[in-house]
Point group: C2
């Protein structure tokens, strides 16, 4: 109990204005009206087997994710605001307010959404730490946005103003409803984190409520426009704002948008209507297809709607699409999207390492879907994919200083990228080096809002159970569904070390089910309690008994480096292996090769197991071919070796140090590959 | 002599109005001023070791290419005109003439070029057969085009008219000069094929001359606009029209455009300036990059300019780019372009079968470059690539009836494409089924113009030699550089059979060097003359002696099916083999598999050689895996076989019939693959 008291007073404690405000009757401020716990995080279903812990029920106390959160709070948020000021995306709101819009307007049609995503990130961050600088930023940005809102609630800087195209004149690519969706999500963060006591409703919440009412009026069952937006996003925004404000109209509108999609009402485009998932109704689809972020945002909303409306068919449809996509259309990193052309999934087994798109935003969106599916079903596989995606997509995006980002996350870089200029907007979303800002800069703010609330994915509470999903040094203070308090601390060097120590800080009276996730890769894990060890198979390691304050439970996860083989149907990866260690995918970088060796001529011997190396690296035994003789004129030849072309050479064996994928290109441009060719047997 | 006389009177003989008109002093009508031979074909350098034979010096008498030409003449040309009328691309010219242009305009900015490419095809076709229907079409189309030309020679239906953007206001993507380039190429075809005797200059030639003069005035050394076009094309048009009309100003303007490119004067775009080759000056580049058709059109013009200006450095630069690109960025089919995103090359070794773009137009453009390089250097490798590309890219595009086309030519189709509607415009350039017309319909007219003059690529004449490059049933009546006449006939079942019989129909006095190409794949070829056989290594099989009328020379090319292996650095093809037979690449189609087998579970045993099958197929011994058990949840596993996922199954051995790639999907949608996984050793 003493430690628990200390904890709430510690540096990492939530700010008083953000702490544990409960739902006052009308449910306006609670994460989940009628459910116990503090204000919710990004997702707060009103029902389902598991309640996500709120922003202030979990505190990270160290490790990788605490570092990422800290960098996000102290560098990225400010970085994003400054860039959006510089490129004019913020001034777009001023121009609407001042009536000075015209044919020229900086930014893509969706640039408003970046401001809203930043507001969402700031709101979670303020809720987490109470830093008044973030509160000031929220108020500063909200004031400019509010001035741009039309009297009827419409709010968009690209359409509907002098010199601009009319409202909703380009549903396929105008992104108006998509932008509104992010506005609503920002307001959700504000609802769940803003302190009580301010006079009246928070301005951001008011703006969002008016925007949502406008959408319902125009696109509702009796509205003049029975359409949908080419980019999903409004659905999830409406669903969550409906929960946060206890406003069933919003949920109903989200469901209406979902039901309308898939009936080919959007125009056909060269990429096909699958691009925006208007080819097949969401409840009939078998697999995710088209633009990855669009498909995943849509599915996240579908789970929200399915849960709130107890629509089992819809929930099953998203589970089915998840299964098929994870089995056949997902990269080893958890990254989704194999095509640059449409930022899209591609077909089954189309999983090229070099052209893997794996947009950072698709990683964010995948976690959004899996997290909702986990809360709705309690199945461990969703938590497994969240872990994989967080470590190998989301964590890969920001540079260590939080001021440059990967947009695409390929699993192979053939030639080192060009160094980027931190002072310039990168026109390209790819290239092998992190960039300070992009022409399409969706990823920095998406990473920011995810990191600010990342710790809410650590655990979930059931009626009489607590489930630990992700492992990081943390303190957890919560209530079970039956109202009993429970406090735990977690100490671990994970993901680099496999020991996770869970200490009971405050034990409730009576038995508790404590469930610890054993990741699917963790063969040979052990659970230690009361000095006794027992095997813990992948899935859940469960204790169901009375807990004692001060007792420690230890989970030992085997983070020995291992080789991983691809399914034979993945053409692009045939004859290759990857190296993983715990939840981390590793990669070879040209910068780490012995002098003179080139990455394209590296092969590994899978007969020699990978071993732990220095500084978080993993060593593999590799063959490096030094090419001799002239280049072949034609790269295809009669005969498997030599023959017409003759590209043989001398090979040397060496131990090569592999880097965790999420830190690749950390030291500058480099060639890189996750999948390593297997050396032919000698 | 008798047969030669018969030939000129036969059905395939050129039309009297198109036949052998020589350069009258000013060089206006000759293919190559000052060089012997009939009117030229598409390319007629004024110097260089080899003179291409003219349109009327070679006649196809049967076989695959005669069939393709016939279908082109009787179906495709009319098909293209009807579609361009239907979609409004022809009426665009009427609207300019009538002053009724406005903001709405059907077609992309480059749609004018399709009309010009059709005119070029019609001109070659009319020159080849003299069919008055084609002459009528030329006059009909030309009249509409001429009315749309401005008094100063400017001619474009997208820019520079009421309601349209100003002239040259979008050099990056406006395609104005590109369109003009195709107009000039159409005029070249007209110059080289229109009969003498009409009153004054042909209208199409007059229109083109005025357009070219306008370009020189605006973009010339003293012109107001020192820019370049985002899509090369004007350069080759100017160079060839300069040759055809003996107008050095046009050649100088072509050179100026070439020299201007690569200095980053076009705006940067998300795809980068390499997209339109404005990143590096053409004479400094090491490899083709960016948009494949753009890179290749530019290089074709560069060879023209290099030859005419005897610019050895420039010629060497294009040879170097060809070498590097063929060695590292070219698909087995000869197809170029690995990326859908930008219809571009991609990087070295980026050669995925499934996402190979291999645009039909890039195949056409590749032949344009290789043909020019061959004429400039006489090197056999250029003729080898022409053959490969013609059989496996260009011939693959048109459906047998000449009324539907492939735009992209991938080497793998995972799932059968959707059947296309012959009455509808396909919005997509991909999909595994040939489409009647595309939103971007560049390929049908490009195939049409190539097929109409395809036979000009069969042979080339030197001072005292004749070189046979491609093998097809044909009659050749020509003059050597020293003025001596020579007539040959070729009989062959090539490419399906390997015997090529060359019969001397008319022998000149004195010795002649007769060179027959032995393709690079033809190990074990033999040349038979006077009853004696001798080995003929890949390269040139040469006779240098007096020829006798009536004698027959036989080349025996080994068209035994063979396995072909990829370079180890092509990641996407690791662990696979392809099957070739003669110049033809083969493929497996799902439609040809034994019942129940799926293409993704096929593997071949390279220890058993492929064998000739029925109807032009090739049989391979294959293992077909019937999957058992549930689908793995995650397609990556610990251990090379079985393990976590377990996607093993029962395998059965079967002989599978492979189809020539150029006829794939002939019988409807099918999955397909050129590269076949190698079965693991048992």
């Amino acid at each position: 109990m003493r430690e628990n008291t200390d904890m709430t007073a510690a540096d990492h404690a939530p700010h008083p204005t953000a702490a544990g405000v409960r739902a006052p009757g009308h449910g306006g401020r609670a994460g989940s009206p009628g459910r116990p716990g503090g204000p919710g995080g990004p997702v707060a279903p009103s029902r389902g087997p598991l309640r996500p812990l709120g922003l202030t029920e979990v505190t990270l106390t160290g490790g990788l994710w605490a570092d990422l959160q800290h960098t996000n709070a102290t560098a990225t948020l400010d970085h994003c605001e400054r860039w959006m000021e510089r490129v004019g995306w913020l001034a777009n709101f001023d121009r609407v307010a001042e009536g000075t819009t015209g044919p020229e307007r900086p930014g893509w049609s969706f640039s408003d959404s970046e401001v809203y995503k930043l507001l969402e990130a700031l709101s979670w961050e303020h809720g987490r730490t109470g830093d008044p600088r973030h509160e000031a930023a929220i108020r500063r940005l909200t004031a400019r946005i509010a001035r741009a809102q039309d009297p009827d609630g419409y709010l968009n800087t690209c359409f509907g103003h002098p010199g601009r195209p009319p409202r909703y004149s380009d549903l396929e690519f105008g992104h108006e409803l998509y932008c509104t969706g992010h506005l609503l999500q920002a307001a959700v963060a504000r609802v769940r984190t803003a302190g009580e006591g301010a006079a009246g409703e928070d301005e951001l919440v008011t703006v969002a409520r008016r925007a949502a009412d406008h959408v319902c009026a125009v696109f509702g069952p009796d509205g003049p426009l029975p359409g949908i937006c080419g980019h999903p996003g409004i659905e999830a925004g409406l669903a969550e704002l409906g929960r946060a404000l206890d406003e069933p109209r919003y949920l109903a509108q989200a469901r209406l948008f979902l039901d309308r999609r898939g009936h080919r009402t959007l125009k056909d485009i060269p990429l096909g209507r699958a691009y925006f998932q208007d080819d097949i109704p969401v409840r009939h689809a078998e697999v995710w297809r088209g633009h990855a972020v669009r498909a995943l945002y849509l599915s996240a909303a579908a789970v929200d709607v399915a849960v709130e409306h107890e629509d089992k068919e819809l929930l099953t449809a998203i589970e089915r699409q998840w299964s098929r996509t994870v089995a056949r259309r997902t990269h080893l990193t958890g990254g989704m999207g194999s095509r640059h052309q449409d930022e899209g999934f591609g077909e089954d087994w189309e999983l090229p390492a070099d052209r893997a798109y794996c947009e950072t935003c698709a990683g964010v969106a995948s976690v959004m879907v899996s997290w909702r599916l986990f809360l709705a079903t309690g199945q461990v596989r969703y938590a497994d994919l969240i872990e994989r995606t967080c470590y190998n997509v989301i964590a890969a995006s920001p540079r260590s200083d939080g001021r440059a980002f990967f947009y695409a996350n390929p699993l192979q870089q053939r030639a080192p990228g060009e160094p980027t200029d931190d002072g310039a907007v990168s026109p390209r979303a790819e290239g092998g080096t992190r960039a300070a800002w992009f022409d399409v800069s969706c990823c920095p703010t998406n990473v920011a809002r995810t990191l600010a609330a990342w710790h809410t994915h650590l655990a979930a509470a059931g009626e009489r159970e607590l489930t630990l999903l992700q492992y990081a040094p943390a303190r957890i203070t919560t209530e079970l569904g039956d109202g009993r308090p429970l406090a735990l601390s977690v100490e671990t060097g994970y993901p680099h070390r496999g020991l996770v120590t869970v200490r009971v800080e405050q034990a409730p009276p009576g038995p508790v089910a404590l469930r610890l996730r054993v990741p699917s890769w963790a063969r040979g894990a052990e659970l230690e309690e009361g000095g006794r060890r027992r095997p813990a198979a992948p899935g859940w390691a469960v204790l169901d008994r009375e807990l004692a304050a001060g007792e420690e439970i230890r989970l030992r996860l085997p983070v020995t480096p291992r080789f991983t083989w691809p399914d034979a149907r993945i053409d692009a990866l045939r004859g290759c292996v990857a190296v993983e260690r715990g939840p981390l995918v590793y990669c070879a970088e040209s910068a780490a090769l012995p002098g003179g060796a080139v990455l394209e001529d590296l092969a590994v011997d899978p007969g020699t197991a990978p071993v732990d190396g220095d500084g978080g690296t993993v060593g593999v035994r590799a063959l490096l071919t030094a090419r001799t003789g002239p280049e072949a004129e034609w790269p295809y030849r009669t005969g498997p070796g030599g023959g017409d072309g003759g590209d043989g050479g001398r090979t040397a064996s060496a131990e090569v140090a592999l880097t965790p994928y999420y830190r690749w290109a950390e030291n500058g441009p480099t060639a890189m590959r996750v999948w390593l060719p297997v050396a032919p047997p000698r």
